[in-house]
Symmetry: C2
Subunit: 385 residues, 2 copies
């Protein structure tokens, strides 16, 4: 099943109607936790035997974690604070993996003492830190894949090249750790499941080589990449997840433990931001497009518009009027605080200062990215339904 | 006078020795307020008749504002919260200009009632908001200049083209406002005063045209652009400011009121960040450079490394050892959280996890840019000496 508009598929009316009724005086993210639960079940059904480890960084709102604990989700944590958050909401430590490949020794020790037993690594130096601070722990090696087709690809920051993997496995054993598997990431917002093919092919080669070298791998962490709807067609969550698992099984056969780490794909569509138009103007009488300035920008919640990578959808009360091209910018005095300029956004020509503008599917990578107060603007407010 | 290293010119030993002695467990910005005062006097002496309006957004730390109020600075505020901050520290409202060209009507009304009487605008729609919420106020028109030579240029976000200026002035008069002058910005971190020449030439033409059209302009706001030392040679603050004013006088003659809005140039060199190396590793055995991961990154204070625009200087205890090229990245699981990759950084080859690393001249555009908690990492801590 595919869907071209969120409303055609998911029960979003609760969020939409709550947003329509809400009065706010600053940019506000409204979250529908029931929508998160709905999406969780869709993804879980598609993923089959793979277990969901929610990527907490996508949205650490307490009520999301609480609900996900209650419905059986596991968690992928990027830091000590995220582990503490999950534990505080009742997550079992054995259901939390410490997935950041770059960790403070003290945070590894904290996790170990709390009962977290599985850690990511992509370097000998990181394995040494883990061995010292979490002796005997399970580790999976993050591999670098460079053929991503994602909208927000993951550069070379994480993972080691394939030629290092078996050396790291061997070193882990020497250090008394248990190298149990591999992880990778296809890149955030990979819109179609079939875009996973090239990456899975490459990882399967590495998996095979490690097993041939005698490492008894039983854990495959397929990471995130599950998309949200931002206007371009995507597969529905169940269909997408099922297709990914089909591609995985075809290449890896039966794997005892498969982990998936949806973040965006689990929570983005459960949130909408209520914002306000501050100014609509032109730079010159001869300009063909307008500049639309909002009270939210790159430093107060919309960080993922960097490079115009994530293109949000906007809803206004004037959407029945004629549309025209706009450059869109945030409220700060920083010139980098421009949302869309290279590819202008189509908005009603009647739009004006004071109008409300709703930004759809903003539940992921917004609130926690907000600055503490750049230019004196407050962080994105969060309201949970 | 020019200087190639901060220590050769300014009394920084207090900051350096405080940083050396300080024990921290998370990234911390240490600020020396006396150093801000020193820099203020240097700039003020060079600027002569021009008055400093500190760009609060560069660093809104309360103690900086308090000190600047006490030594006679005026202020450029980007938002209601920044105006409130200045007022709370004793600034007179008539010494505050509301310099954001994009303002909420309610914030204009707040400023007006508080006694702030001077506002920036670059569009008819903004003038209308000002006229309605701050009747009779002084306005200056921000003009768009596109020949910046700055390291962090200001794109097209702010200012109108020259062909609109006189129309905006006329409209301001119709609306009962007082169009008193022009503002512009050469771009942040304009390293040499002589780089102002092209922009000043262009603005002087606009100024002349407005006066010929009968507008009795008496205020020239030359904005910011005053540089900080990041490794490339810059003029000392007094020399730089004096040269800028020489260029201004040559083009504008005698102007009743000249405003300058240094932010970075006033506070950057008064701060240093204490950070920690989390991991030094390679992606492959054949890699020629290392990856150095810090506990601070683009989303926790070093936002200005976007596009590798601002290149900070690093100090470690191993600076006597051999140096080699490094890619540098932050601690989050976000692949965009890479500080320097296209132009690697030279760091000691002996650097390793757990080492302290001091980032110099970080007093501007760091703490307030921090995210509230992306990936669970806390905002940049600030300690005032």
């Amino acid at each position: 099943m595919t869907y071209v508009a969120q409303g055609a598929f998911a029960p979003v009316s609760r969020l939409d109607s709550a947003v329509a009724d809400m009065i706010v005086d600053k940019p506000t993210l409204v979250l529908d936790i029931d929508r998160v639960e709905f999406q969780y079940h869709q993804l879980a059904q598609g993923l089959g035997e793979a277990h969901i480890h929610y990527a907490v960084k996508a949205n650490p709102t307490r009520e999301i974690i609480e609900r996900l604990v209650n419905i059986g989700s596991h968690f992928d944590a990027a830091s000590r604070a995220e582990i503490e958050l999950c534990l505080s909401q009742g997550a079992a430590p054995e259901h939390i993996s410490f997935g950041n490949t770059v960790k403070k020794p003290a945070d590894i020790a904290f996790a170990h003492h709390a009962g977290v037993d599985i850690f990511a690594a992509d370097a000998v130096e990181e394995l040494e830190k883990i061995a010292e601070n979490a002796p005997g722990a399970q580790v999976y090696i993050r591999v670098l894949v460079e053929n991503s087709e994602a909208d927000w690809p993951l550069s070379r920051k994480f993972g080691c090249r394939s030629d290092m993997v078996n050396d790291l496995m061997a070193r882990a054993v020497e250090l008394g750790l248990r190298p149990v598997g591999l992880s990778f990431h296809v890149g955030s917002q990979t819109r179609r499941a079939d875009m996973w093919t090239g990456v899975l092919d490459a990882v399967a080669e590495i998996w095979k080589s490690a097993r041939e070298a005698g490492f008894d791998l039983d854990l495959l962490n397929i990471g995130g990449g599950f998309p949200a709807f931002y206007g371009e067609q995507i597969d529905g969550p169940m269909t997408y997840a099922a297709r990914v698992m089909e591609l995985v099984r075809a290449r890896f056969g039966k794997v005892a433990r498969v982990m998936a780490e949806p973040g965006r794909g689990l929570v983005a569509e459960s949130g909408a931001i209520i914002a306000e138009v501050l100014l609509v103007s032109k730079k010159s009488d001869s300009d063909t497009h307008r500049w639309v300035y909002l009270d939210i920008g790159r430093f107060s919640g919309l960080a993922e518009t960097e490079g115009e990578a994530i293109r949000y959808q906007f809803v206004t009360a004037r959407d029945g009027d004629e549309f025209g091209p706009c450059v869109m910018a945030g409220p700060s005095c920083d010139s980098a605080d421009v949302l869309y300029e290279k590819r202008p956004v189509m908005l009603p020509t009647t739009l004006k200062s004071g109008d409300r503008i709703v930004i759809r599917n903003c539940g992921a990578y917004t609130s926690s990215y907000s600055s503490v107060g750049f230019n004196g603007f407050p962080p994105l407010d969060v309201v949970v339904l």
